[in-house]
């Protein structure tokens, strides 16, 4: 079921185009909104939470138009990109205050605030002023306030920016568990592997346009004819290049010090044959990575 339907959304900031006929549908579950900084992710999310209104096109969120729709806003949870909070409040007071504005009575707001801060592992710090929180703690507090009133749709704008590894793992765990509780999640990020760890369903946005959407593997099919890239570290790059150049499927080899960047038209054959080649030629391999193995490659190919 679709939770957000955007059709031909265009948004201008004066003479700057924020969204350019952006068309995408977001289903329930977790969907990643992925694109580089300035691609239009935050603009789109601000349309969803009714903070901005589109110049052209239509937007339907949970079956309703978002601008000036307080009833709809009560069903959303929003975690903004910036880290501004009410610094004079404690984390617990901040979450409880927003719950009071959502209509909860004092006792229930307090109970939910404590639960929310516990959920993001901030119970030890929840009575400290927010002004003393680190970036990662602020991110977790924003997640707690966005979730505390049981929203049906959670909008997370770059939620993992500035988080420490432990906090990041906890946030990912919390976010991944939300669909089971009936909460749909839209998570934006410019760090592609983060999104890939949260969901396999993405919308790619670039220069205000949705350039691809769907399952990552489906998007990969779009680029099947594009050569696959592998970077190999070796103390004998020239010898290894000579061996690899003899393979039919190798399209290009680029030298970069002790690294070789190899582009192949048949990744399966490449990975199958490489061990035999290096053993036979007695060439040691110190590292091997494929930028094509992550979402970054899909994104780069589509925008090139």
């Amino acid at each position: 079921m679709s939770v957000i339907e955007g059709e031909g959304l265009t948004k201008w900031y004066g003479e700057v185009l924020g969204l350019n006929r952006f068309t995408a549908s977001f289903d329930d579950g977790i969907t990643g909104l992925v694109g580089p900084n300035g691609a239009g992710k935050s603009t789109f999310l601000k349309l969803v939470i009714g903070q901005l209104i589109q110049d052209e096109g239509s937007l339907v969120v949970l079956g309703e138009k978002p601008f000036n729709n307080q009833r709809l806003m009560a069903r959303l949870g929003y975690c903004p990109e910036h880290n501004r909070l009410y610094d004079y409040m404690s984390g617990r007071r901040f979450v409880a205050t927003l719950l009071r504005l959502s209509g909860y009575n004092r006792e229930e707001a307090e109970r939910r605030a404590v639960e929310g801060m516990k959920l993001v592992d901030l119970q030890a710090d929840m009575d400290r002023p927010l002004g003393g929180y680190s970036k990662g703690m602020r991110q977790r507090t924003k997640l707690a306030q966005a979730l505390a009133h049981d929203p049906g749709l959670l909008i997370l704008d770059e939620p993992l920016n500035g988080t420490d590894p432990v906090g990041r793992a906890r946030m990912m765990e919390v976010i991944q568990g939300l669909p089971e509780q009936g909460v749909s999640v839209i998570v934006s990020s410019h760090i592609l592997h983060e999104v890939e760890r949260l969901t396999d369903r993405i919308v790619l946005i670039h220069r205000g346009k949705a350039i691809a959407s769907g399952l990552i593997r489906e998007i990969r099919r779009l680029i099947d004819d594009h050569p696959h890239t592998v970077r190999i570290g070796t103390p004998r790059p020239r010898s290894l290049a000579t061996e690899l150049a003899a393979q039919d499927h190798v399209a290009e080899i680029v030298f970069d010090g002790d690294m070789l960047t190899v582009r192949t038209r048949d990744p399966e054959a490449f990975y199958r044959e490489l061990p035999g080649i290096v053993v036979e030629a007695d060439i040691s391999v110190t590292s091997m990575e494929s930028p094509d193995d992550n979402l970054e490659a899909v994104f780069r190919y589509l925008v090139e």
Partner: protein
């Protein structure tokens, strides 16, 4: 439903009042609001009695400054700080209506700003009465007049500065020009021009409530009802316009 809305009111108005009374800017306005106490306390400490005539002159001289500074600092920041800090989205993505958002913030400001302005006036009045030995109840209408002027002025100036603070990025500069140029010059111009200033209505309230001293000497044809009603209507219109801006304008943050 009523309980929910009451909870929203107490939370938002209480939060606004707390920041008005205890923030760093709140401390600055307390310093300004306490001016009458310093001045009259200083006069008494210098060995001079402060009779009701002198009390009127000193308070009247300081009231405009205190009203404008308090209303400007706290009225203009009600939404300006939320807009500049990008925190408004935390409030607008809850169940609270935008009408309630504006109204509760304004009421929170009103109660706390009124406290900041009137407490020093009341304290000063009793200090002055004690210095002369005249029973405090004898000139209570003078105190009543100043409190009424403060109550109406805090609403009217606060409403205008709320609107200016929402609509303009340089709200403080615009507010200072309005408060200290417009409201200083227009009330003393001839003809009907003073009707364009809030100060004229406030002085008219004083004139209608007090029969002696400088308060009674203001030239006005306004009766008490009109003098109170017009500034309150200005406040209501400004708060209403702020609401209209909130529901029609986009919230463009800096991130």
């Amino acid at each position: 439903m009523i309980a929910e809305e009451w909870g929203r009111f107490t939370t938002l108005a209480g939060l606004t009042a707390k920041t008005t009374l205890s923030s760093r800017k709140g401390a600055v306005t307390w310093v300004v609001a306490l001016l009458p106490l310093y001045v009259i306390g200083g006069v008494i400490a210098a060995g001079r009695q402060v009779d009701i005539e002198l009390f009127q002159i000193l308070i009247l001289a300081l009231l405009s400054l205190v009203l404008v500074v308090t209303a400007l600092v706290h009225g203009s920041r009600l939404f300006r700080e939320e807009l500049e800090d990008n925190t408004l989205a935390y409030l607008t993505t809850r169940g609270i209506s935008k009408a309630s958002l504006v109204a509760y913030k304004f009421l929170g400001y009103y109660g706390s700003a009124l406290l900041i302005v009137t407490l020093p006036i009341v304290a000063t009045y009793f200090l002055a009465a004690a210095s002369t030995g005249v029973p405090a109840a004898e000139n209570i209408e003078v105190l009543g007049a100043f409190v009424a002027m403060a109550a109406v002025g805090i609403a009217a100036f606060g409403g205008l500065f709320l609107l200016i603070g929402f609509a303009l990025k340089r709200a403080l500069m615009a507010g200072l020009l309005y408060g200290f140029l417009w409201e200083t010059i227009l009330p003393i111009l001839p003809g009907n021009v003073p009707l364009l200033s809030i100060t004229h209505y406030l002085r008219s309230i004083g004139k209608n409530l007090v029969s002696t001293g400088i308060l009674s000497q203001w030239i006005t044809t306004l009766d008490l009802f009109t003098a109170v009603l017009v500034p309150l209507l200005i406040a209501a219109a400004a708060v209403g316009l702020t609401y209209v801006l909130l529901i029609t304008r986009e919230i463009k943050s800096k991130d």
